[in-house]
Symmetry: C2
Subunit: 330 residues, 2 copies
């Protein structure tokens, strides 16, 4: 046992200064500052099923006029401030998940995909890079499950060259959703602007090789063993959530029942501009969240910040997301 | 524009089934289930300073008798349940941080380190692997800053062979803390058991090469440019927190002002068995948290779950940790 007195402590400090002299100068310059965030993937097990959350990144933009039909800019800014977020700015996060059932390897929703990743200064389209970081080969994905037909969920079906990103996958889509967007009558009645653009984008994505691989699925049935499709319309007509269940494990995969939790989990009555039927989306949201709260269900949210997993509890007139504690070892 | 009718949708499903036949059988088996969690590091910038959170892992154990001096097992279990955590079990998370000031590259606390990582089924000692994942060479670290002398903060100074893990680093330690643990009178008066073990461990770690590199630092002064040491005693006599500040950025690095937030942020009056002076630790905790709440300061907690960064707000008689939203792009 060494002996250290008060004098010894001061001596230690002096010795340390002396050590400086023998450390080569080049090792004393700080390393470079990172310009890229850490890879974003996270594993967790639901019984025998493994889920891997794979972030596609995020997009930030100035708070648009009319972003929320029934909330004033000041109310939105107050909600942002409550969540320690900057005012007049919205960030939307994207987190597809990979579901490994043992027999099947599926991805639920695709993110904006590799096309977005190739754009200058892109902050989305990271899903394929994060899949690679997680050691998941897109060629090994045998099923893509689509929750609904918005670009952040379907554009990643195609790579930057317009070829299938998951070349060996069957593409399972909600029958109601597919029928709506592929219906020429609906398209002809679509308002100019956003809705017209969505129809055009969906006709672009769901054509050729992609359309050949499409198989429709029904609500209240298993899309894969252990993965049941749940009807949660409003955000879009065929918007779908999922329950993944195995053994005693269960997680509710909400898709877009809410978007950014700081705004829409806290204020379930707010109607976002991207909710096609605001009232129906709100009814769905309240129904889902009351169920998730009552059952203390784990909930995975496509638009929650990575790893996009937590529990929801009642808080005043709204709800609060309680993120899970990151498990560093499986 | 392709034409898809209701009939076409059903046709799509049939086509998809046909596709199955042309996909080679070997690509249809699900990939292996991951047995390792994702790497755990996370970058954020505080003005011109970059912080990289690097998890050392976590340790879980059955809730010990007397774990909290002034809380009953039922109260602890109620707090765990409130946080959606399993009863009768405690998990302690460890998150050292790397601080790159441009001129200096420092790590604050070391985790259990590579010695722990080599133990069978270890769930801690991951810091060096995560440093490597973050592209940070331990040889490039020029300063190790120690907050206090507990094994999860200092054991990682040594590698599995007992050599310095950061071979080119000066080791900066709080003068009060160093004097306490190196004082033979204090050691001779230490109660048998935990306190005696801590003295022995600190004499083991702070000897030889490590002791030669030690330099003491004082409270209320900069340990590094932009990193100021703050007196937060109670957990140990010389326990130290930090304020990292640059430009308009600021983060309070709390070290062990609280441990697991589900228990001790929510219940600041609870005295954990590892708080050397429970009353003083509580006074420090309330003072720090009232300040952090009032100033809406970002707070980094060594024992918060990864990435161990958030804001704190008042909640009834205690506080609540609101984790930051993960930023997928810097």
């Amino acid at each position: 046992m060494i002996e250290v007195t008060r004098r010894g402590v001061i001596g230690g400090a002096v010795a340390a200064s002396a050590v400086g002299a023998i450390i080569p100068a080049q090792t004393r310059a700080a390393g470079p500052v990172a310009s890229k965030q850490a890879v974003g993937f996270y594993h967790y097990n639901v019984g025998d099923i493994q889920v891997t959350v794979v972030t596609d990144g995020a997009r930030s933009f100035p708070l648009p006029d009319g972003f929320i039909a029934n909330a004033k800019k000041e109310e939105i800014n107050a909600a942002l401030q409550t969540a320690y977020l900057p005012p007049d700015n919205v960030t939307i996060y994207f987190s597809p998940i990979v579901v490994n059932t043992g027999g099947k390897l599926a991805i639920i929703d695709t993110g904006y995909g590799p096309g977005a990743a190739t754009q200058a200064n892109s902050t989305s389209g990271l899903c394929q890079a994060n899949l690679a970081a997680a050691g998941i080969d897109p060629k090994s994905i045998d099923t893509v499950i689509i929750s609904h037909y918005h670009g952040d969920h379907v554009d990643g079906l195609l790579d930057a060259e317009g070829k299938p990103s998951f070349p060996n996958a069957e593409i399972k889509v909600p029958v109601v959703e597919h029928q709506f967007w592929m219906d020429d009558g609906e398209m002809s009645r679509a308002p100019k602007g956003r809705m017209e653009g969505l129809f055009k984008n969906n006709r672009r994505v769901f054509s050729g090789e992609i359309l050949k691989r499409v198989a429709t699925y029904d609500w209240d049935k298993e899309v894969l063993p252990g993965v049941t499709a749940i009807s949660t319309p409003g955000h879009t007509p065929g918007h779908t959530s999922y329950v993944i269940a195995s053994g005693s494990g269960k997680v509710f995969v909400q898709s877009d029942v809410t978007n950014n939790p700081a705004l829409f989990v806290r204020n379930p009555g707010w109607h976002a501009s991207f909710d096609q039927d605001g009232k129906m989306a709100e009814d769905t949201r309240r129904k889902v969240y009351d169920m998730v709260v009552a059952d203390k269900l784990l909930i995975q949210g496509f638009h929650y910040p990575f790893p996009a997993l937590g529990h929801v509890e009642k808080d005043g007139s709204g709800y609060r997301l309680v993120p899970i504690f990151w498990t560093p070892k499986l």
